[in-house]
């Protein structure tokens, strides 16, 4: 292997030296121990001995008499018979004094710009994760600006005020990413929710205040519809569609800090009452800001209910990376034509926004139709 010749460190604090000339010609045979070239530091001029034997190969563009060279810089090779200079031999010299510096010295990595790393105490890091606080935007009050526990807690309190909090920023980022990257299409239909209203009334009578609400019933029916139309239980990941195995449904919760979407896991395996209990617990903790981050991740579909605000239809925004989101409107008694008669029915408007990249309009419409049918006749789907 070709033996590199590098500028040695001649003194404890020497970083560079003046190259005053080679003592051997390019191509000359050199024995170990022979003087090879002369370096001058601020202290003295010194002949540098060769440590190995070989044929001297002075790098083209290498230092000339009067050049400054950096310690460690490669200035030539000792070659054994049959060897050639490695092809990527780097150029090494620093500038002749007074001249602008050429692009120099591969043996020294260019100093990286100082990374601005945010310091945070391990405790603050843990608490930020537990409370779902985005600590990367917090200013630290510890020594040298380290973020400590009190900063995270203070940020959480500030987050409670509209417009100032980290929750708002996270929402803003996520929604704009959704708007930027998805191709949303919204389908609207109206379903006859009279049977559902009847079930709800009976549940209220039997279960009291903890009875499953309309959202819980619809979540359960959505899960059933997703089982039958798995194309909507999918995500866009990287550059392709990935169907999801589990059905985990996020439920939008309005909190003081902003919209949060905790996720109910494995909905098909839960009874309606279990869905209601999980949903009640998640929503309560969402309002207290006591959700763990993982409880707001991993959803495969989202349900958002604006019925309480007398909204009928709207265009919900897809909760990335999910494929679709269902908007529930109010349930209202309306006159409906049944045959040739006009009857009063409980009507529920459904708005389904889906990502056209993942699924086309027809399958999405079939899913929504299935859901409307399930609402009209829940049958066994609710297991009640």
């Amino acid at each position: 292997m070709a033996i590199p010749i590098a500028v040695p460190r001649l003194g404890w604090s020497t970083e560079e030296a003046l190259f005053t000339g080679w003592l051997k010609e390019d191509g000359a045979p050199v024995r170990a121990g022979e003087p090879l070239y002369v370096l001058e530091t601020d202290k003295a001029s010194q002949e540098v001995e060769c440590l190995d034997a070989g044929t001297l190969n002075i790098l083209a563009g290498g230092p000339k008499a009067g050049d400054k060279v950096l310690v460690g810089a490669l200035i030539g090779y000792l070659l054994q018979p049959g060897e050639v200079v490695p092809s990527s031999a780097p150029l090494v010299v620093s500038a002749r004094e007074g001249k602008p510096a050429p692009a120099v010295v591969a043996t020294f990595a260019a100093p990286e710009p100082e990374r601005s790393r945010i310091a945070i105490s391990p405790r603050a890091l843990r608490i930020a994760a537990e409370l779902g606080v985005d600590w990367t935007r917090i200013e630290g009050s510890g020594r040298d600006g380290r973020i400590v526990e009190r900063d995270v807690r203070a940020a959480l309190e500030r987050g409670g005020k509209p417009g100032a909090g980290s929750v708002r920023r996270v929402i803003a980022e996520r929604l704009s990413r959704s708007a930027r990257t998805t191709v949303p299409v919204t389908l609207v239909t109206t379903a006859d929710a009279s049977p559902l209203a009847g079930i709800r009334r009976r549940l209220k009578e039997s279960d009291g205040p903890d009875a499953p609400g309309y959202t819980d019933l619809v979540v359960k029916l959505v899960a059933e519809a997703l089982c039958r139309h798995p194309a909507l239980n999918a995500r866009w990941e990287g550059d392709g569609v990935v169907l999801q195995e589990g059905i985990h449904i996020g439920v939008a919760v309005d909190t003081e800090a902003g919209l949060l979407v905790p996720v109910i896991r494995n909905v098909p395996e839960l009874t309606v009452r279990q869905v209601a209990a999980a949903s009640r617990d998640l929503a309560a903790r969402a309002r207290r800001r006591a959700l763990r981050p993982e409880e707001m991740q991993g959803g495969t579909f989202t349900v958002s209910n604006l019925g309480a605000f007398a909204i009928d239809a709207f265009t919900p925004v897809i909760n990335l990376p999910e494929c679709a989101v269902l908007g529930m409107g109010r349930i209202e008694r309306r006159p409906v034509a049944e045959g040739d008669a006009i009857v009063i029915r409980e009507q529920l408007t459904l708005s389904l926004t889906f990502d056209h990249r993942i699924v086309d309009g027809a399958p999405a419409a079939r899913f929504l139709g299935e859901l409307a049918a399930l609402i009209r006749g829940p049958g066994a789907a609710l297991g009640l």
Binding site: S121, P122, R123, R126, G142, R146, V148
Partner: protein, 319 residues
Amino acid sequence: MQATLEALTEEMARDPAIFVLGEGIGKRGGNFRTTAGLYERYGPLRLCDTPICERGFVGLACGAAMAGARPVVDFMFVDFVLDALGEIFNQIAKVQYMSGGRLRMPVLLRGCIGVGHSAATHHSGSYHPLFAHIPGLRVAVPSNPADAKGLLRHALRGHDPVVFLEHRELLGVKGPVPEGDWEIPFGRAAVVRPGKDVTVVALSLMVRHALAACAALEKEGISVELIDPRTVAPLDVDTVLASVRKTGRLLIVDEAFGPFGLGSEIAAQVAERGLDQLDAPIRRLHGAHAPTPYSPPLEAAVAPTAKTVERAIRDLLED
């Protein structure tokens, strides 16, 4: 001092196998009055004055313990025990292990530690980290009369060799001492005072300094939880961890030298087991890593004081 004397007197009455070895512990009653009145009560057979030959009488104690006695070796200053380290580390600490537990080694090695009274470097050492480093030794370092009595009694009733170290500046301290069969098991730290802002672990005389610092800081609403490990081996880190879980900040105060010391050990264990409880770097306050000077002003500068403890707590709260 009176508290440990009570415990020793009562235990000698209870257990005839206990006898005391040391320089000036017979008629004289001990240089620090650690055996005052015992010679009159138990006679020269059980209070053996020795010549100045630490290695010799420590070896003797080891043999006596192997033969079933319970020797108490009184060194006055723990600095002198260093002459007998070979016997202690190589024999006393290992005999139970080497005999597969057939031989017991209930040797109590006691002496004074600590900086003060211009005692200079041969009479100011605090070597508990050295002993705690060696498997097979138990090390008790009490901070008040009640603990001293309870720990000494526990030492006199166990099977293991115990190094019992009292700070010389604590010997005259008065405090309530429970009467009767008062015993404190090893390896249980005391929460000297509860607090919520910062945890301070202090040993021996440093507990008193820390208490003074806590009182000063309390006036400003700074709430310090003070923990006294009481024994260094075994060391109760669980109590420290439980406190750090509350406060997130930890300062360890020990008069002994810092390198490889009590602070390092507690800091390492807390970092291993409770890293994400820490809101600030763990701080240590130790005696200066230097021979203790004779000069009173220099001596005052090498050991932690209530003032420097207070400063260290303030500094930690800034982190």
